[in-house]
Each structure stands twice: as C-alpha cells, then as structure tokens.
C-alpha cells in the first residue's frame, strides 16, 4: 500500500514525511546562538536539537548522527563553540555522506555571537532554497516507521489509549510497517507474557534480560519509572503501570530488539531497549518523555504515537507527535492539545477497535502532511543526555 506519493526522497534513498532543517548545537555554550539562528524560521520547518555536554560520549555522537540523517531532515547547520570535545568533523562527514547539505559554524572562529548568528541566517536562506528542491516519491507502508511512548500516565491509559495504540500497531504490522515500543523500565512485571511473543527463543532470552537489566538499574537508583502523578491517577505499582504501558505493543509477534540509533531492518514489531548497559552511571535513564521520543526518532520513527492520561502537551523536533488522550476528563480540559479522544471508550461513545482505526487513519494522514496538534502549537521539544550502550548482537534481529 502506498501511503502518499509526496514523501521527501533523500539522496541516501530514505523517505521523509516532513522536510525539516535541523540546527544542532554541539555543546550548551553554542545553544543560544543556535536558538537565535532558528528563531525567525521556527514556523518554516527549522528545528533546534543539540547535546549540552562538553565531554565525548559515543551514545550522544550516535544519536546526533542518527537524528541529523533522519528521513524527515533535509539539511543541517552545526553550531560549535570551538573548544568542546564533540567530534564535529566526524558528524559533518556523516551528514555529507548521506547527501544532505551541511554547514558548520564555529563561534570562536566566526568572531562571536552576533557575527555567527548573522552568518547562520545567511546560510539558512540558501539551505531553505536547496531543501525545497528535494524530489518527491511514493512512501510505501513497508517503509513507514512508527514509534510509541506514554507520558503522564494514569489508570485510564492502560484501558483506553494504550490498547487503542496496540490495535493501530497490529494493523500497521499486518501491512508490513515497522512499529517500535520502548521503555523497558515500564515492562517490569510483563516479562513472561512479553517473551512468549518473541520470534525466536534466543530473542525471548534477550527481551527478558533487557527487562531484568531495567529492574536492576532502577533498584540501584531507589525508585522506578513512576512519577507522583501516576499514583494520583490511580496507579499503585510499577507492575501495574507496566501492564498498561505494555498494551501499546498490541498482539503481534515481536521481531527484534533495538537500541537507540538502530533502525528496524524491515517491517514488524520491535522493542527499543532504552536502559544503559553496564554499571549504573549518568543517573536516571530517561529523564523525561522527550528523551524517549528522541530515541524513537533516532531509530527512524516518522511519527510517534504518544499516550497520555494526566495530560501531556509535548511534541518534538524532527518527527510529528500524535497525542492520544486516555482520560475523558483530561480531554475535556485540554482538548486543544489532543489529537485523539480515546477516553470516549469509557463513556460508551466508541469501541477499542474504532479508536484503533482512528489512530491508524490519523497516523497515515499525518504522514500525508496533516499537522498534529503539537506541531500546530509550535512544540519542538528536544533533550539528549549521557548514556552508554553495547552494540546489539545478531540474535537481537533474527533473520536480518
């Protein structure tokens, strides 16, 4: 099935549903200059991302590379202070090798804040004209990648929005799209039922180990991925929150395990392991929902389905975020921020299958260019912090 005839065809063959330019700061010291370059263009598809740390980190380098060469990105301007550790030449080379236009501005070489902003805006005008010329091509269902995350969960999330997303995922996977669910810390308690869906026994062991790793990690930190609002919303334990979160994965067999920056090799359902490998360091794994969204996008997600009960307002840089509201009371209070009213299931106004179909139809329309609520409201949140991962082994992607 062809979703749209007008996807943006990149020189590396990947196809995007948006045609954004990314301005990426390579240390917090370049953040202000980068933001000032973006500001006049923020409603013209120019997005700000960056890494704040001054010291080298393989995970951050890989995330930045994956994000700057994402199919929704047509060109990149890198912002360096000049003395930070980030390997800007290597990132520039990777972007250039993908065929995308890339410029690097080094603030110390350009002569400071004002001169760099002026130069950045000049380069932006040229890049906007270049990126507007990108050829268009059909996007097939088997090229479409959809991620899912939940944030601001309450006890309605696991009854309405999450199983609704699960139904949409089942239909996408049937039609050979790739679907990614994540947050192994919110699968604690679901090990047995989840591993029973693994494509191979080896993968089952890997899925179980990823959840056990998360349980160990959070035990050392002293608390789980569970915020006070979750308890106010009627959730009591991490296992209970997990069961709700798990429902987003639907019922398809699980084809593989990814880590941030790995792209699904083909259609199917994938678990994204977001908890760092090795000893516990760098603090809490996912400091907020946007850290998880950025990782889903780094795995190639064209669109992210975001389930919320308490009421999140976030969107993201690079890929559109579709907000599926689980709680009918929250929907009435915050309807401007919500794309789908899944809580109507509780009030007998729709069935789970109908909401699943609504989510699927909307995801396809967003791929055809329809803006999501968070896009229309200008949301472009982004965060990237320190983590570390071992590369995945061959058993993580059986048959790849």
């Amino acid at each position: 099935m062809i979703i749209t005839d007008h996807a943006y065809l990149r020189a590396d063959g990947r196809k995007g549903i948006r045609n954004h330019i990314v301005v990426a700061y390579l240390v917090e010291c370049a953040h202000h200059v980068a933001r000032e370059i973006v500001y006049p263009y923020r409603e013209r598809g120019v997005h700000l991302i960056g890494f704040g740390g001054c010291y080298p980190n393989d995970y951050a380098a890989r995330m930045m590379r994956s994000l700057c060469t994402h199919p929704n990105v047509g060109g990149v301007i890198l912002l360096s202070l000049g003395c930070e550790s980030f390997n800007r030449a290597s990132l520039r080379d990777a972007i250039a090798a993908s065929g995308r236009p890339v410029e690097t501005l080094v603030i110390q070489q350009k002569g400071g804040t004002r001169k760099t902003i002026e130069e950045g805006r000049r380069l932006m005008e040229t890049m906007l004209a270049t990126v507007a010329q990108v050829p268009r091509a059909p996007l097939r269902m088997d090229e479409f990648i959809v991620g899912t995350v939940c944030g601001g969960s309450d006890a309605t999330s696991g009854i309405t929005a999450n199983p609704g997303i699960g139904r949409a995922f089942d239909r996408l996977v049937e039609q050979k799209a790739a679907c990614i669910f994540e947050e192994t810390g919110e699968l604690i308690g679901c090990e047995d039922i989840m591993t029973a869906r693994a494509a191979t026994p080896e993968l089952a062991g890997i899925l179980r180990a990823s959840v056990e790793k998360a349980a160990r990690y959070y035990s050392v930190l002293g608390h789980g991925s569970f915020a006070p609002g979750n308890a106010e919303g009627g959730l009591t334990t991490i296992e209970e929150k997990s069961m709700g979160a798990y429902a987003k994965s639907g019922a398809s067999p699980i084809s593989g395990l990814l880590k941030p920056g790995d792209n699904p090799p083909r259609g199917g359902l994938y678990l994204l392991d977001v908890v760092p490998d090795g000893e516990v360091r760098f603090g809490f794994p996912n400091i907020n929902d946007n850290a998880e969204i950025a990782e889903l996008i780094a795995c190639g997600s064209h669109v992210v389905l975001f389930s919320t009960g308490r009421g999140s307002v976030v969107g993201s840089a690079i890929s559109p975020v579709i907000k599926v509201c689980a709680n009918p009371e929250t929907f009435r209070r915050m309807s401007e921020d919500m794309d789908v009213d899944a809580g109507k299931i509780l009030e007998g106004r729709a069935s789970l299958d109908e909401v699943g179909q609504e989510i699927l139809d909307l995801a396809l329309n967003v791929a055809r260019g329809e803006p999501t609520r968070s896009e229309a409201l200008g949301h472009q949140e982004f965060v990237l912090t320190y983590k570390s991962f071992e590369p995945i082994g061959p058993s993580c992607l059986p048959g790849a």
């Binding site: 309450d154 039922i193 569970f226 006070p228 009591t236």
Partner: protein, 106 residues
C-alpha cells in the same frame, strides 16, 4: 460484575477499576454484594472485588501487579496504603516529603 461505574478487566482479577468518578455514599454492586463508597474515588482507581488477605497477589489484567500489605475488604479502595510492588517501591511526593523532613531535623 462490570457495571457502568466499575470495570472488571479480566474474570480472574480481584480488583475493579472505577471508570467514572465515584461519590461518597454511592452504592455499588461488588460481586453480588452491596457496598457503599466511604469516600470519593477518582476515575481509574481500584477497589477490591472480593475480600483479599494480607500477602495475597493483587490481580489486574490477569497479572500480579503487587501484593496486599494487610487484609482488604470487598469494595475497599486498593492503593498505596494497602498494597505494594513486588519489584521496586513506589516513589510518591508524600514519601519524598517525609524524607526531606527527616533531613531537616538532622
């Protein structure tokens, strides 16, 4: 056993989920027994579908979501005060405040 106000997610479960806000004094049918709601209960919270003994698993979606920390009567609110995780303790603002108060005294 599901009614318009309560949802039994799986026949094996020992808790019911409020699918609308419950008022104090509401009378509910819980497993054929009439139970009066003692205090307001927000949408999404759980009540016991039958008597649950201390140490018994709390079942929701047919999966154990933790254990009872004391005996729970049918119709009683099931939450942080009478159940706990079998994996990792639940962090709440209340427990956080207790921690900082304790530090203040040192």
């Amino acid at each position: 056993m599901s009614s318009r106000k309560l949802l039994l997610l799986d026949p094996h479960d020992n808790v019911l989920v409020a699918i609308q806000a419950l008022r104090a004094g509401d009378v509910l049918d819980v497993g054929g027994q009439s139970v009066t709601v003692p205090a307001p209960l927000a949408l999404g919270h759980k009540i016991a579908a039958r008597p649950i003994l201390a140490g018994e698993k709390i079942l929701k979606y047919r999966v154990a979501i933790g254990s009872a920390t004391r005996d729970i009567a049918a119709g009683e609110h099931v939450h942080l005060h009478n159940m706990k995780s079998d994996y990792i303790q639940t962090y709440t603002l209340e427990s956080g405040q207790t921690f900082s108060t304790r530090n203040d005294h040192h």
